[in-house]
Subunit: 239 residues, 2 copies
């Protein structure tokens, strides 16, 4: 039962599919454990009832379901409560590039808050079973503009996303397989850590399959394994 478990440096990722994925959020945002890590945490803290009030739906999606298709104009915004999702682009012949992994607390889709009526540049699909709180885009935009702290929070979130996009461009262009893998794992680790989803021993659930890692890193499934032993042993220089 300890297989499918990686010890990479000091990280300890469990690749089991955990039963908890997809469990539903509470009715009230007041007690929501994820709320402090979402885009609307300032409002959720000061006036949680406002957030709940504009929520339209609590939606559960099965693993593998496509939530948004490249080029569509999303008509609603979701806040991921439980489970993972992934953003990707796919070409006609099946090649897929994963842009980013979304974890609980992330917004689905951040772009639509800035470009409410424009198409999104990637598809979104549920990696595991997941649940999310759904808002009408306009309502969420209004919520975001209501207070100064909230507006600033949105800006910073969008800015962080921009930074990470440019970083990923650098990684894909100028890093070896090993470096890209380390970078991706570290990034996910940090984001999970921020959200209290890393338990003692630096261990955390990690639902992506090697197939997903490969598509995120611009590699092939089989090759993802090669750099792993090296990473497992110790920290590596010149990634």
């Amino acid at each position: 039962r300890d297989a499918c478990r990686y010890y990479i440096g000091w990280m300890n990722l469990s690749m089991r599919t955990v039963v908890g994925y997809g469990k539903l959020p509470p009715i009230s945002c007041e007690n929501c454990l994820v709320a402090p890590y979402t885009i609307c945490h300032p409002t959720a803290k000061d006036a949680p009832q406002e957030v709940c009030a504009s929520r339209r739906e609590i939606r559960a999606s099965a693993a593998g379901r496509t939530l948004l298709r490249d080029g569509e104009v999303p008509e609603s915004v979701g806040i991921l409560f439980s489970g993972w999702a992934l953003c990707y682009k796919q070409s006609g012949d099946g090649r897929r590039q994963i842009i980013s992994f979304l974890i609980p607390g992330d917004t689905l889709v951040l772009e639509s808050l800035h470009f409410p009526n424009l198409s999104i540049p990637y598809s979104v699909k549920a990696l595991t079973a997941l649940s999310s709180c759904i808002f009408k885009t306009d309502d969420m935009v209004a919520l975001m503009g209501a207070t100064d702290v909230q507006r600033r929070e949105l800006f910073h979130a969008q800015h962080r996303y921009m930074m990470s996009l440019h970083q990923r461009l650098f990684d894909l262009g100028r890093r070896s397989a090993c470096g890209r893998l380390a970078q991706l794992l570290l990034d996910i680790y940090n984001r999970l850590k921020e959200r209290d989803m890393v338990t003692v021993g630096n261990s955390f659930d990690f639902p992506p399959k090697q197939e997903h890692l490969a598509d995120a890193l611009g590699l092939t499934t089989a090759y993802v394994n090669r750099p792993l032993p090296q990473l497992r042993r110790n920290s590596v220089s010149s990634l």
Copy 2:
């Protein structure tokens, strides 16, 4: 004198450094040939004097000069009038990834209009001698918000940039050297064409060196040459 001239498919790029780079824009936006292709073209068309009025400076920069450094907060916005610039990220050990090439009419830097007080995620440097119209960021933001068409134009420009970033992510991760090269050249061709910078015979000036192409495509200088003959011959399938 026809060397340093590529015929790639139907494209005809001249890699000479052209003397015209860096020539200064007119004092009045009314007669500016580039204005129709800039971010502020709606205002420049309806009320050109407003644009000129808020311009602070006409600035010329020598080739190779660094205009903005990764992580800085830009205090002004420029509209590129003549010459090329490039946006890139660089790591401590010298590896460089070019994010995008900026051509006349492009905004320098588009991000700062959306995140006026936040740092930019890349450095910007003059690829050729160049000249640009400089505005205080706040003034430009105000100009952008003045009319509906202008606001929409800004949104669409930012949206286009987002789309192209995601596209480049896919290209770097999932395309061969040949495909990436073709994609980049086509992209530049289209942008130049839009701006009337392609003359008869599909020929245009192309100041980037192979070094720049390599850094943009995630390749090495020497290897950029390999796919060229293949592209020259004809259009290629399965890029």
